[in-house]
């Protein structure tokens, strides 16, 4: 019997295009990772396996700079993710559970629009804003800017999750003598938790690796990891940068993996 094979794998060139895409996406990462273990000070000649550049990151001439930058990056990312996730959770509660209120569509647009605005525009605008209110640039301006641009990233997984939770769960809780607050903490929150954790992790990663906005609003002398790496690269790429990059990459992979497993544990079904 003749059957039409619509399997995409049989399309001409499917394999080639797939391999090309994967190559373009991952080859640089693989090369950076491999060369971070290079014993040579050159970034192109392989001279054997070594952890020399990892040690260099922690003890080398630039180590103080990187340590401060890493501290700034992680503290800012944790605080920005916490604050933006809290705000996004409240926003999602209002948007999904608030019934039909005026300007609901507009509100949704306003929350997600920053995702579409070119980052350079946001960066310039944020800088102008801080200057106009006389806010001295430094650690705090980076934190405030990060909280602001992380909100839409945290909002998306949280609201998607909330839309999957029917009203009847809260109603059932209240019907069974739970107050509004108890219904929220004992029923709605546990059901929302996977969305909130995903939102937090996404906001954390986005904050951790932001460069453009940070570079605009940071004050002189205050660096985060991305700006410190950029500053270092301007004087030529050294293998220690590859070591830092590989560490950041591994960290991101761990975070994304956690996020994946959390969102997979769907407890509404």
């Amino acid at each position: 019997m003749a059957t039409v094979n619509n399997d995409i794998k049989t399309y001409k060139g499917f394999r080639a295009i797939t391999l090309l895409c994967l190559l373009v996406l991952y080859a640089p990462l693989v090369i950076v990772t491999i060369y971070s273990f290079n014993a040579s000070a050159s970034i192109t000649n392989w001279e054997g396996l070594s952890f020399r550049w990892y040690a260099d990151v922690f003890t080398g001439p630039e180590s103080d700079k990187f340590k401060v930058a890493a501290f700034n990056s992680f503290t800012i990312a944790i605080m920005a993710a916490t604050a933006s996730t809290t705000i996004a959770t409240l926003a999602a509660t209002a948007m999904v559970r608030g019934g039909k209120f005026k300007l609901r569509t507009v509100s949704f647009g306003l929350i997600s629009l920053p995702l579409m605005v070119p980052e350079i525009v946001t960066a310039v605008a944020t800088l102008i804003f801080f200057n106009s209110i006389g806010f001295t640039r430094g650690y705090l301006t980076i934190l405030v800017a990060h909280i602001a641009f992380c909100i839409p990233f945290a909002y998306l997984p949280i609201s998607a999750r909330m839309q999957g939770i029917e009203d009847s769960f809260e109603q059932a809780a209240m019907d069974l003598y739970a107050t509004k607050r108890q219904a929220f903490t004992k029923v709605l929150m546990p059901l929302m938790a996977p969305g909130i954790i995903s939102g937090f992790l996404l906001a954390f990663i986005v904050s951790l690796d932001d460069f453009i906005i940070t570079n605009f609003v940071k004050g002189a002398g205050v660096e985060t990891l991305p700006t410190a790496i950029f500053g270092s690269v301007k004087q030529g790429i050294k293998p220690n940068i590859m070591a830092i990059s590989t560490m950041l990459l591994s960290f991101s992979i761990v975070m994304v993996t956690i996020s994946y497993f959390v969102s997979k544990s769907d407890n509404t079904k």
Partner: protein
Amino acid sequence: MSERMSNAIDVRNAVKRYGDFTALKRISLTIKDNEFFTLLGPSGCGKTTLLRMIAGFEDVTEGEILLYGDEIEKLPPHQRPVNTVFQNYALFPHMTILENVAFGLEMRGKSKSEARTRAGEMLELVQLSQFAARKPSQLSGGQQQRVALARALAPQPKVLLLDEPLSALDLKLRKAMQLELKHLQRETGITFIFVTHDQEEALTMSDRIAVMSAGEMQQLGSPTEIYEQPRNMFVADFIGETNLLEVSVDQVMNGRAVCHLGGGHALTCNSVEGINVGAKVHMSVRPERLFTTDVPVEGEALKGRVVENIFVGTDISTIVDLAEGPQFIVRTSNSERGNKRIFEPGSEIFVNMELGAGRLLVD
């Protein structure tokens, strides 16, 4: 106990409006203590709205709702001693079956161990003890339904509200659950208010039924009253199968009326309040109270021709084209086939009504 106190629920002039739309048009009804009461009607008739108003999920635009004499219409849901079995069960997916059933008890201030013990007893009552440690998603629809029931009954509510709880189950399970619900109601002595659009379900389980349509109550009565003495066109048409004939009323006397069809054929039937001489109204007659013969058995028999015989398991439905009126359905139980004849399609026959089977309706 005063007369008023023995009423589980008193709904007084309850109105519900959503903007310009009136979902409930001034409903008043009384539900007695320990009663299995059903709100029956098609979707959009306001039955679920009324139930949700009693539960506290919808506020009352106008009117009052009393629970054993206490006004409750302004209390939030958690302060009303009533519990609901939701249409989709709404079991908490992140809790075990036992935790689900214990939830209401814990919220009412029972200690964890006390709540769990009582929840265990409730699970025993619905024969699900062995599933106590499972999550709701690991149970079948019928089992989830029984958990929802146990969870709602555990805090011993004064009234149990059931919002079409059987609609998601298959026919066989639904029939079994109907009986189980009825038994549970008798066993617990709790007043049940059951919402359904399924008239058969309502007739099977209820002590009394309120038939609703378009935000209004059409009739309130026992299943027998609703079925045998429908008050108006809507009730006669909605409950069971019925044959309708347009008639003109010539005479009304002692609850009986003499009428005639368009062609002049005279009929005697039961009258109801509000029917006046000269009125053009409908007469309803149930298919199982008709029988076909080749010669008229009584003077009022209607002439017709058999169109089709349909075998429906326990009965045979015969569709007859009346000479003077629309099509009629005549139902013959298979157990009666010995003494009642089934005529072939095309046969010229007479449709006879049992004495008192015809009933006039107000529109």
